[in-house]
Protein backbone atom coordinates (compact mmCIF):
# COMPACT_ATOMS: atom_id res chain seq x y z
CA UNK A 1 0.00 0.00 0.00
CA UNK A 2 2.88 2.24 0.80
CA UNK A 3 4.33 1.72 -2.65
CA UNK A 4 0.97 2.34 -4.24
CA UNK A 5 0.62 5.61 -2.41
CA UNK A 6 4.00 6.83 -3.63
CA UNK A 7 4.14 9.30 -6.41
CA UNK A 8 5.07 7.47 -9.61
CA UNK A 9 7.90 9.77 -10.50
CA UNK A 10 11.24 9.16 -12.23
CA UNK A 11 13.02 8.49 -8.92
CA UNK A 12 10.52 5.78 -8.01
CA UNK A 13 11.10 3.92 -11.29
CA UNK A 14 14.88 4.25 -10.94
CA UNK A 15 14.67 2.68 -7.48
CA UNK A 16 12.44 -0.06 -8.80
CA UNK A 17 14.83 -0.76 -11.67
CA UNK A 18 17.82 -0.89 -9.29
CA UNK A 19 16.05 -3.45 -7.10
CA UNK A 20 15.16 -5.58 -10.16
CA UNK A 21 18.74 -5.46 -11.39
CA UNK A 22 20.10 -6.58 -8.01
CA UNK A 23 17.70 -9.50 -7.78
CA UNK A 24 18.66 -10.55 -11.31
CA UNK A 25 22.36 -10.88 -10.49
CA UNK A 26 21.95 -12.52 -7.08
CA UNK A 27 21.74 -16.32 -7.00
CA UNK A 28 18.14 -17.42 -6.71
CA UNK A 29 19.13 -19.57 -3.75
CA UNK A 30 19.35 -16.39 -1.68
CA UNK A 31 15.59 -16.04 -1.93
CA UNK A 32 14.92 -19.71 -1.32
CA UNK A 33 13.64 -20.25 -4.85
CA UNK A 34 14.22 -23.42 -6.83
CA UNK A 35 13.32 -22.24 -10.29
CA UNK A 36 15.28 -24.56 -12.56
CA UNK A 37 14.02 -23.02 -15.79
CA UNK A 38 17.12 -20.86 -16.19
CA UNK A 39 19.49 -23.23 -14.44
CA UNK A 40 22.06 -24.98 -16.62
CA UNK A 41 22.47 -27.69 -13.99
CA UNK A 42 18.98 -29.12 -13.92
CA UNK A 43 18.95 -32.33 -11.84
CA UNK A 44 19.21 -35.37 -14.08
CA UNK A 45 15.99 -36.88 -12.82
CA UNK A 46 14.03 -33.87 -14.02
CA UNK A 47 12.14 -33.96 -17.28
CA UNK A 48 14.03 -31.51 -19.47
CA UNK A 49 15.17 -30.83 -23.02
CA UNK A 50 17.03 -33.85 -24.35
CA UNK A 51 17.99 -34.65 -27.92
CA UNK A 52 17.16 -38.34 -27.52
CA UNK A 53 17.73 -40.32 -30.73
CA UNK A 54 14.53 -40.76 -32.72
CA UNK A 55 12.38 -38.42 -30.68
CA UNK A 56 13.64 -35.27 -28.98
CA UNK A 57 12.25 -34.30 -25.58
CA UNK A 58 11.16 -30.73 -24.99
CA UNK A 59 10.05 -29.31 -21.67
CA UNK A 60 9.32 -25.65 -21.05
CA UNK A 61 9.36 -26.06 -17.27
CA UNK A 62 11.61 -28.92 -16.06
CA UNK A 63 10.07 -30.89 -13.20
CA UNK A 64 10.03 -34.36 -11.65
CA UNK A 65 7.06 -35.62 -13.60
CA UNK A 66 3.72 -36.95 -12.43
CA UNK A 67 3.01 -39.70 -9.92
CA UNK A 68 -0.10 -41.56 -11.06
CA UNK A 69 -1.41 -41.87 -7.49
CA UNK A 70 -1.34 -38.12 -7.08
CA UNK A 71 -2.65 -37.27 -10.51
CA UNK A 72 -6.19 -36.28 -11.39
CA UNK A 73 -7.81 -34.61 -14.35
CA UNK A 74 -10.39 -31.94 -13.67
CA UNK A 75 -12.81 -31.13 -16.50
CA UNK A 76 -14.82 -28.05 -15.71
CA UNK A 77 -15.96 -24.61 -16.79
CA UNK A 78 -19.04 -24.11 -18.94
CA UNK A 79 -20.24 -27.71 -18.72
CA UNK A 80 -23.33 -29.44 -17.39
CA UNK A 81 -21.42 -32.21 -15.61
CA UNK A 82 -17.98 -31.22 -14.32
CA UNK A 83 -15.94 -34.32 -13.53
CA UNK A 84 -12.64 -35.37 -11.99
CA UNK A 85 -10.88 -38.43 -13.43
CA UNK A 86 -8.17 -40.60 -11.91
CA UNK A 87 -5.59 -42.50 -13.93
CA UNK A 88 -7.62 -45.73 -14.01
CA UNK A 89 -10.59 -43.84 -15.44
CA UNK A 90 -8.65 -43.29 -18.66
CA UNK A 91 -8.93 -47.03 -19.37
CA UNK A 92 -12.70 -46.70 -19.70
CA UNK A 93 -12.71 -44.70 -22.91
CA UNK A 94 -12.86 -46.29 -26.34
CA UNK A 95 -9.25 -46.71 -27.48
CA UNK A 96 -8.19 -45.34 -30.84
CA UNK A 97 -4.75 -45.93 -32.34
CA UNK A 98 -2.96 -43.87 -34.95
CA UNK A 99 0.49 -43.23 -36.36
CA UNK A 100 1.19 -39.55 -36.65
CA UNK A 101 4.09 -37.18 -36.73
CA UNK A 102 4.87 -34.53 -34.18
CA UNK A 103 6.38 -31.49 -35.87
CA UNK A 104 8.35 -29.08 -33.75
CA UNK A 105 8.81 -25.37 -34.42
CA UNK A 106 12.54 -26.12 -34.18
CA UNK A 107 12.22 -27.71 -37.63
CA UNK A 108 12.43 -31.41 -36.70
CA UNK A 109 9.67 -34.00 -36.66
CA UNK A 110 9.29 -37.54 -35.30
CA UNK A 111 6.68 -40.21 -35.78
CA UNK A 112 5.09 -42.55 -33.22
CA UNK A 113 2.11 -44.78 -32.70
CA UNK A 114 -0.28 -43.09 -30.32
CA UNK A 115 -3.17 -44.68 -28.44
CA UNK A 116 -5.88 -42.86 -26.60
CA UNK A 117 -9.40 -41.57 -27.09
CA UNK A 118 -11.14 -38.86 -29.04
CA UNK A 119 -11.99 -35.59 -27.37
CA UNK A 120 -15.65 -36.27 -28.17
CA UNK A 121 -15.59 -38.91 -25.42
CA UNK A 122 -15.01 -36.17 -22.88
CA UNK A 123 -17.62 -33.94 -24.49
CA UNK A 124 -20.20 -36.73 -24.08
CA UNK A 125 -19.37 -36.99 -20.40
CA UNK A 126 -19.32 -33.34 -19.40
CA UNK A 127 -21.82 -31.86 -21.90
CA UNK A 128 -20.45 -28.38 -22.62
CA UNK A 129 -22.80 -25.40 -22.98
CA UNK A 130 -23.54 -24.34 -26.53
CA UNK A 131 -21.64 -21.07 -25.91
CA UNK A 132 -18.47 -22.93 -24.84
CA UNK A 133 -16.40 -22.57 -28.01
CA UNK A 134 -12.93 -22.65 -26.42
CA UNK A 135 -10.93 -25.12 -24.38
CA UNK A 136 -8.07 -24.33 -22.02
CA UNK A 137 -5.58 -26.98 -20.91
CA UNK A 138 -3.34 -26.80 -17.87
CA UNK A 139 -0.42 -29.10 -17.08
CA UNK A 140 1.42 -30.44 -14.07
CA UNK A 141 4.47 -28.37 -15.10
CA UNK A 142 2.57 -25.05 -15.12
CA UNK A 143 2.28 -25.11 -18.91
CA UNK A 144 -0.99 -24.10 -20.50
CA UNK A 145 -2.52 -24.27 -23.96
CA UNK A 146 -5.60 -22.97 -25.72
CA UNK A 147 -7.77 -24.44 -28.50
CA UNK A 148 -11.08 -23.86 -30.14
CA UNK A 149 -13.51 -26.71 -29.53
CA UNK A 150 -13.81 -27.24 -33.28
CA UNK A 151 -10.07 -27.91 -33.54
CA UNK A 152 -10.26 -30.65 -30.93
CA UNK A 153 -13.02 -32.65 -32.56
CA UNK A 154 -11.14 -33.14 -35.83
CA UNK A 155 -10.70 -36.84 -36.68
CA UNK A 156 -6.94 -37.22 -35.98
CA UNK A 157 -6.87 -35.36 -32.69
CA UNK A 158 -6.35 -37.71 -29.74
CA UNK A 159 -6.12 -37.61 -25.97
CA UNK A 160 -3.16 -39.95 -25.62
CA UNK A 161 -2.05 -42.19 -22.75
CA UNK A 162 0.00 -44.80 -24.67
CA UNK A 163 2.90 -44.36 -27.09
CA UNK A 164 4.52 -47.07 -29.23
CA UNK A 165 2.69 -49.81 -27.34
CA UNK A 166 3.63 -48.62 -23.84
CA UNK A 167 2.09 -46.24 -21.32
CA UNK A 168 3.38 -42.73 -21.98
CA UNK A 169 6.81 -42.20 -20.47
CA UNK A 170 7.35 -39.29 -18.12
CA UNK A 171 9.33 -37.53 -20.84
CA UNK A 172 6.47 -37.79 -23.30
CA UNK A 173 3.73 -36.57 -21.01
CA UNK A 174 2.65 -39.29 -18.57
CA UNK A 175 -0.14 -39.84 -17.77
CA UNK A 176 -2.10 -37.93 -20.43
CA UNK A 177 -1.22 -35.67 -23.33
CA UNK A 178 -2.82 -34.24 -26.42
CA UNK A 179 -1.82 -35.15 -29.97
CA UNK A 180 -3.10 -32.73 -32.62
CA UNK A 181 -1.02 -33.70 -35.69
CA UNK A 182 -1.74 -30.56 -37.71
CA UNK A 183 -0.45 -28.28 -34.95
CA UNK A 184 3.17 -27.63 -34.02
CA UNK A 185 4.53 -29.67 -31.12
CA UNK A 186 4.15 -26.94 -28.53
CA UNK A 187 0.37 -27.18 -28.99
CA UNK A 188 0.51 -30.90 -28.10
CA UNK A 189 0.32 -30.29 -24.37
CA UNK A 190 1.70 -32.93 -21.97
CA UNK A 191 0.92 -33.99 -18.33
CA UNK A 192 -2.60 -32.55 -18.58
CA UNK A 193 -4.25 -31.86 -15.22
CA UNK A 194 -7.23 -29.71 -16.14
CA UNK A 195 -9.46 -28.97 -19.09
CA UNK A 196 -11.70 -25.93 -18.93
CA UNK A 197 -14.49 -25.04 -21.36
CA UNK A 198 -15.20 -21.34 -21.85
CA UNK A 199 -16.82 -18.82 -24.15
CA UNK A 200 -13.66 -16.75 -24.62
CA UNK A 201 -10.19 -17.61 -25.78
CA UNK A 202 -7.27 -17.60 -23.37
CA UNK A 203 -3.66 -17.16 -24.42
CA UNK A 204 -1.24 -20.05 -24.39
CA UNK A 205 2.18 -20.39 -22.77
CA UNK A 206 4.28 -19.62 -25.84
CA UNK A 207 2.20 -16.67 -26.93
CA UNK A 208 3.09 -15.19 -23.55
CA UNK A 209 6.73 -16.30 -23.42
CA UNK A 210 7.95 -16.50 -27.00
CA UNK A 211 7.33 -15.79 -30.66
CA UNK A 212 4.87 -18.61 -31.26
CA UNK A 213 1.26 -18.05 -32.11
CA UNK A 214 -1.78 -19.23 -30.19
CA UNK A 215 -3.04 -20.93 -33.33
CA UNK A 216 0.11 -22.95 -34.09
CA UNK A 217 -1.17 -24.58 -37.29
CA UNK A 218 1.74 -26.10 -39.23
CA UNK A 219 2.61 -23.84 -42.14
CA UNK A 220 3.93 -24.91 -45.55
CA UNK A 221 7.71 -25.15 -45.32
CA UNK A 222 10.65 -27.47 -44.84
CA UNK A 223 10.92 -30.27 -42.28
CA UNK A 224 13.96 -32.19 -41.00
CA UNK A 225 12.55 -35.55 -39.85
CA UNK A 226 14.61 -37.33 -37.19
CA UNK A 227 13.68 -40.68 -38.68
CA UNK A 228 15.13 -39.70 -42.04
CA UNK A 229 18.53 -38.43 -40.89
CA UNK A 230 17.23 -34.88 -40.79
CA UNK A 231 17.24 -34.78 -44.58
CA UNK A 232 15.23 -31.66 -45.41
CA UNK A 233 11.87 -32.47 -46.92
CA UNK A 234 9.13 -30.10 -48.04
CA UNK A 235 5.82 -30.06 -46.20
CA UNK A 236 2.55 -28.73 -47.50
CA UNK A 237 1.18 -27.38 -44.27
CA UNK A 238 -1.31 -28.96 -41.91
CA UNK A 239 -0.53 -32.53 -40.82
CA UNK A 240 2.98 -33.51 -41.90
CA UNK A 241 3.43 -36.54 -44.16
CA UNK A 242 6.58 -37.63 -45.89
CA UNK A 243 7.15 -40.07 -48.69
CA UNK A 244 8.02 -42.80 -46.18
CA UNK A 245 4.94 -42.19 -44.02
CA UNK A 246 1.76 -44.10 -44.44
CA UNK A 247 -1.12 -41.72 -44.91
CA UNK A 248 -4.34 -42.52 -43.07
CA UNK A 249 -7.06 -43.94 -45.30
Amino acid sequence: MKILSQKLNRRFFLRLFSLSAITAILPQRVFGLSDYRRDKNIPKQYIQNRDSPGFFIRSANPFMGVNSNDWSLSIRGMVENPIVLKYEDLFGFKIVSQISRLKCVECWSASAQWEGFHFQELIKRVKPDSEAKYVYFQSADSYYESYTLEELIRPRVLMVWRMNGQPLSKDHGFPLRLIAPYKYGYKNVKYITSIEFSDSRKRNYWANHGPYSIDGTIQPGIDHPLDFNKKPLPINGGEVFHSFDERPS
Partner: protein, 242 residues
Amino acid sequence: MSRFLGVVLILLIFSISCSNKEVEQLEVHVPHGITVPEDMVYIPSGKFTMGHPDKLRTKKGREVLADAFLIDRFEVTREKFKTFKLEYIFHPKKAQFPVSMVTYAEARDYCRWKGRQLPTEVQWEKAARGTDGRKWPWRNYYEHPNNGFSGFIPEAVDQRKEWISPYGIYGMGHNVWEWISDWYYYDGIPETDRNRFKVIRGGLTQTHTMVKFTPTYFRNKMEPTAYFNFIGFRCACSIKCQ
Protein backbone atom coordinates in the same frame (compact mmCIF):
# COMPACT_ATOMS: atom_id res chain seq x y z
CA MET B 1 17.41 18.48 -29.37
CA SER B 2 17.17 20.01 -32.84
CA ARG B 3 19.91 17.69 -34.07
CA PHE B 4 17.98 14.71 -32.66
CA LEU B 5 14.81 15.83 -34.43
CA GLY B 6 16.78 16.27 -37.62
CA VAL B 7 18.05 12.69 -37.48
CA VAL B 8 14.53 11.39 -36.80
CA LEU B 9 13.21 13.40 -39.75
CA ILE B 10 15.89 12.04 -42.09
CA LEU B 11 15.18 8.47 -40.93
CA LEU B 12 11.46 9.04 -41.45
CA ILE B 13 11.97 10.36 -44.97
CA PHE B 14 14.32 7.47 -45.72
CA SER B 15 11.86 4.86 -44.46
CA ILE B 16 8.98 6.41 -46.40
CA SER B 17 11.02 6.57 -49.58
CA CYS B 18 12.07 2.94 -49.10
CA SER B 19 8.48 1.79 -48.70
CA ASN B 20 7.33 3.48 -51.88
CA LYS B 21 8.32 0.66 -54.18
CA GLU B 22 6.21 0.74 -57.29
CA VAL B 23 5.82 -2.47 -59.19
CA GLU B 24 6.47 -2.20 -62.90
CA GLN B 25 3.19 -2.86 -64.68
CA LEU B 26 2.60 -4.47 -68.06
CA GLU B 27 0.63 -2.39 -70.49
CA VAL B 28 -2.70 -4.01 -71.32
CA HIS B 29 -5.32 -2.92 -73.84
CA VAL B 30 -8.77 -4.31 -73.28
CA PRO B 31 -10.36 -5.08 -76.66
CA HIS B 32 -13.62 -3.38 -77.63
CA GLY B 33 -16.70 -5.30 -76.59
CA ILE B 34 -15.17 -6.74 -73.43
CA THR B 35 -16.47 -5.38 -70.15
CA VAL B 36 -14.19 -5.93 -67.21
CA PRO B 37 -15.99 -5.92 -63.85
CA GLU B 38 -14.59 -3.50 -61.30
CA ASP B 39 -13.26 -6.29 -59.08
CA MET B 40 -11.50 -8.16 -61.90
CA VAL B 41 -8.50 -7.72 -64.15
CA TYR B 42 -8.21 -8.53 -67.84
CA ILE B 43 -5.27 -10.74 -68.80
CA PRO B 44 -4.62 -10.75 -72.58
CA SER B 45 -3.97 -13.91 -74.54
CA GLY B 46 -0.42 -14.88 -75.37
CA LYS B 47 2.57 -16.95 -74.35
CA PHE B 48 4.42 -16.74 -71.05
CA THR B 49 7.18 -18.67 -69.28
CA MET B 50 5.71 -21.26 -66.93
CA GLY B 51 7.65 -23.09 -64.20
CA HIS B 52 11.40 -23.14 -63.78
CA PRO B 53 14.01 -25.39 -65.46
CA ASP B 54 15.37 -26.52 -62.06
CA LYS B 55 11.97 -27.39 -60.62
CA LEU B 56 11.06 -30.71 -62.15
CA ARG B 57 7.48 -30.71 -60.92
CA THR B 58 6.74 -27.46 -62.74
CA LYS B 59 6.48 -26.77 -66.47
CA LYS B 60 10.28 -26.35 -66.32
CA GLY B 61 10.37 -22.89 -67.85
CA ARG B 62 8.52 -23.79 -71.04
CA GLU B 63 6.54 -21.28 -73.09
CA VAL B 64 2.84 -21.81 -72.53
CA LEU B 65 -0.03 -20.22 -74.44
CA ALA B 66 -2.92 -18.85 -72.39
CA ASP B 67 -6.21 -17.53 -73.77
CA ALA B 68 -7.39 -14.16 -72.54
CA PHE B 69 -9.28 -14.32 -69.25
CA LEU B 70 -10.46 -12.30 -66.27
CA ILE B 71 -9.30 -12.83 -62.70
CA ASP B 72 -10.21 -11.29 -59.34
CA ARG B 73 -7.97 -8.39 -58.40
CA PHE B 74 -8.12 -9.44 -54.72
CA GLU B 75 -8.46 -12.68 -52.79
CA VAL B 76 -12.10 -13.26 -51.80
CA THR B 77 -12.73 -11.47 -48.52
CA ARG B 78 -14.56 -12.73 -45.46
CA GLU B 79 -17.24 -10.10 -46.01
CA LYS B 80 -17.86 -11.24 -49.59
CA PHE B 81 -17.90 -14.90 -48.64
CA LYS B 82 -20.67 -14.20 -46.14
CA THR B 83 -22.94 -13.01 -48.96
CA PHE B 84 -22.70 -16.58 -50.26
CA LYS B 85 -22.70 -18.50 -46.99
CA LEU B 86 -24.96 -16.57 -44.65
CA GLU B 87 -24.04 -18.55 -41.54
CA TYR B 88 -20.35 -17.69 -41.98
CA ILE B 89 -19.08 -15.63 -39.03
CA PHE B 90 -16.11 -13.27 -39.01
CA HIS B 91 -14.75 -10.55 -36.77
CA PRO B 92 -16.02 -7.16 -38.02
CA LYS B 93 -12.50 -5.73 -37.92
CA LYS B 94 -11.35 -8.47 -40.30
CA ALA B 95 -14.06 -8.09 -42.93
CA GLN B 96 -11.49 -7.30 -45.62
CA PHE B 97 -9.16 -10.15 -44.69
CA PRO B 98 -9.07 -13.10 -47.08
CA VAL B 99 -11.57 -15.80 -46.27
CA SER B 100 -9.82 -18.96 -45.05
CA MET B 101 -10.76 -22.29 -43.48
CA VAL B 102 -12.67 -23.15 -46.66
CA THR B 103 -12.48 -26.46 -48.49
CA TYR B 104 -11.91 -26.75 -52.21
CA ALA B 105 -15.61 -27.49 -52.75
CA GLU B 106 -16.69 -24.39 -50.83
CA ALA B 107 -14.30 -22.22 -52.82
CA ARG B 108 -15.43 -23.75 -56.12
CA ASP B 109 -19.10 -23.33 -55.21
CA TYR B 110 -18.60 -19.68 -54.31
CA CYS B 111 -17.01 -18.98 -57.69
CA ARG B 112 -19.79 -20.83 -59.51
CA TRP B 113 -22.36 -18.82 -57.56
CA LYS B 114 -20.63 -15.70 -58.87
CA GLY B 115 -20.73 -17.08 -62.44
CA ARG B 116 -16.99 -17.70 -62.34
CA GLN B 117 -14.55 -20.56 -61.70
CA LEU B 118 -11.45 -21.18 -59.66
CA PRO B 119 -8.43 -20.26 -61.80
CA THR B 120 -6.44 -22.93 -63.57
CA GLU B 121 -2.72 -23.16 -62.85
CA VAL B 122 -1.94 -21.61 -66.22
CA GLN B 123 -4.25 -18.68 -65.51
CA TRP B 124 -2.93 -18.18 -62.00
CA GLU B 125 0.74 -18.29 -62.92
CA LYS B 126 0.35 -15.97 -65.88
CA ALA B 127 -1.56 -13.46 -63.74
CA ALA B 128 1.19 -13.65 -61.09
CA ARG B 129 4.33 -13.39 -63.19
CA GLY B 130 3.24 -11.78 -66.46
CA THR B 131 5.15 -12.23 -69.69
CA ASP B 132 8.55 -11.10 -68.46
CA GLY B 133 9.32 -14.22 -66.40
CA ARG B 134 9.19 -12.75 -62.91
CA LYS B 135 10.29 -14.89 -59.99
CA TRP B 136 8.16 -12.81 -57.66
CA PRO B 137 5.10 -10.89 -58.85
CA TRP B 138 6.76 -7.61 -57.88
CA ARG B 139 10.02 -8.70 -59.54
CA ASN B 140 12.48 -7.73 -56.78
CA TYR B 141 12.93 -9.58 -53.48
CA TYR B 142 12.05 -7.70 -50.29
CA GLU B 143 12.14 -9.04 -46.77
CA HIS B 144 8.75 -9.88 -45.38
CA PRO B 145 7.65 -8.45 -42.02
CA ASN B 146 5.95 -11.68 -40.98
CA ASN B 147 8.89 -13.02 -39.01
CA GLY B 148 7.13 -15.08 -36.35
CA PHE B 149 7.96 -18.67 -37.16
CA SER B 150 4.79 -20.41 -36.15
CA GLY B 151 2.57 -17.45 -36.70
CA PHE B 152 0.65 -16.87 -39.87
CA ILE B 153 -0.48 -13.28 -40.01
CA PRO B 154 -2.97 -12.59 -42.78
CA GLU B 155 -3.89 -9.04 -43.64
CA ALA B 156 -6.52 -7.10 -45.57
CA VAL B 157 -6.51 -8.12 -49.23
CA ASP B 158 -5.77 -4.60 -50.51
CA GLN B 159 -2.88 -3.85 -48.12
CA ARG B 160 0.21 -4.35 -50.23
CA LYS B 161 0.35 -2.20 -53.30
CA GLU B 162 4.13 -2.69 -53.29
CA TRP B 163 3.57 -6.42 -53.87
CA ILE B 164 1.09 -6.40 -56.75
CA SER B 165 1.59 -8.53 -59.84
CA PRO B 166 2.55 -7.08 -63.27
CA TYR B 167 -1.19 -6.86 -63.98
CA GLY B 168 -2.01 -5.09 -60.72
CA ILE B 169 -3.32 -8.14 -58.87
CA TYR B 170 -2.89 -8.28 -55.09
CA GLY B 171 -1.83 -11.14 -52.82
CA MET B 172 -0.18 -13.51 -55.31
CA GLY B 173 3.00 -13.98 -53.28
CA HIS B 174 1.85 -13.58 -49.71
CA ASN B 175 -1.29 -13.61 -47.58
CA VAL B 176 -3.23 -16.89 -48.03
CA TRP B 177 -2.50 -19.78 -50.37
CA GLU B 178 -5.19 -20.08 -53.04
CA TRP B 179 -7.18 -23.06 -54.28
CA ILE B 180 -6.61 -23.86 -57.97
CA SER B 181 -9.03 -25.89 -60.10
CA ASP B 182 -6.36 -28.35 -61.34
CA TRP B 183 -5.43 -31.63 -59.73
CA TYR B 184 -1.80 -31.77 -58.64
CA TYR B 185 0.08 -33.61 -61.37
CA TYR B 186 3.63 -33.92 -62.68
CA ASP B 187 5.44 -36.35 -64.97
CA GLY B 188 6.04 -39.53 -63.01
CA ILE B 189 3.54 -38.87 -60.22
CA PRO B 190 2.78 -42.14 -58.37
CA GLU B 191 -0.51 -43.72 -59.40
CA THR B 192 -1.78 -43.48 -55.82
CA ASP B 193 -1.34 -39.70 -55.83
CA ARG B 194 -3.22 -39.05 -59.07
CA ASN B 195 -6.43 -37.06 -58.57
CA ARG B 196 -5.71 -36.93 -54.87
CA PHE B 197 -4.54 -33.37 -54.26
CA LYS B 198 -5.59 -30.01 -55.59
CA VAL B 199 -2.95 -27.42 -56.38
CA ILE B 200 -2.65 -24.41 -54.09
CA ARG B 201 -0.62 -21.37 -55.09
CA GLY B 202 0.79 -18.12 -53.91
CA GLY B 203 1.31 -18.20 -50.16
CA LEU B 204 4.42 -18.14 -48.06
CA THR B 205 6.79 -20.99 -47.38
CA GLN B 206 8.32 -20.83 -43.95
CA THR B 207 11.60 -22.37 -42.89
CA HIS B 208 12.39 -22.19 -39.21
CA THR B 209 12.67 -18.57 -38.10
CA MET B 210 12.98 -17.20 -41.62
CA VAL B 211 10.17 -16.44 -43.99
CA LYS B 212 10.98 -16.76 -47.65
CA PHE B 213 8.81 -15.57 -50.43
CA THR B 214 7.42 -18.33 -52.52
CA PRO B 215 8.29 -17.78 -56.17
CA THR B 216 5.50 -17.48 -58.70
CA TYR B 217 6.19 -20.94 -60.09
CA PHE B 218 6.13 -22.70 -56.69
CA ARG B 219 3.46 -25.41 -56.57
CA ASN B 220 1.96 -26.65 -53.34
CA LYS B 221 -0.71 -29.31 -52.99
CA MET B 222 -3.52 -30.01 -50.56
CA GLU B 223 -6.23 -32.60 -50.08
CA PRO B 224 -9.45 -30.96 -51.30
CA THR B 225 -11.27 -31.65 -48.05
CA ALA B 226 -8.67 -29.82 -45.99
CA TYR B 227 -9.37 -26.42 -44.54
CA PHE B 228 -6.72 -24.28 -42.90
CA ASN B 229 -6.14 -20.74 -41.81
CA PHE B 230 -3.54 -20.34 -44.55
CA ILE B 231 -5.74 -21.32 -47.52
CA GLY B 232 -8.22 -19.03 -49.30
CA PHE B 233 -9.01 -18.41 -52.96
CA ARG B 234 -9.89 -16.03 -55.75
CA CYS B 235 -12.04 -16.58 -58.86
CA ALA B 236 -11.42 -16.27 -62.58
CA CYS B 237 -13.44 -16.65 -65.76
CA SER B 238 -13.19 -16.54 -69.51
CA ILE B 239 -13.81 -13.23 -71.25
CA LYS B 240 -17.29 -14.49 -72.16
CA CYS B 241 -18.43 -15.15 -68.60
CA GLN B 242 -19.83 -11.69 -67.94
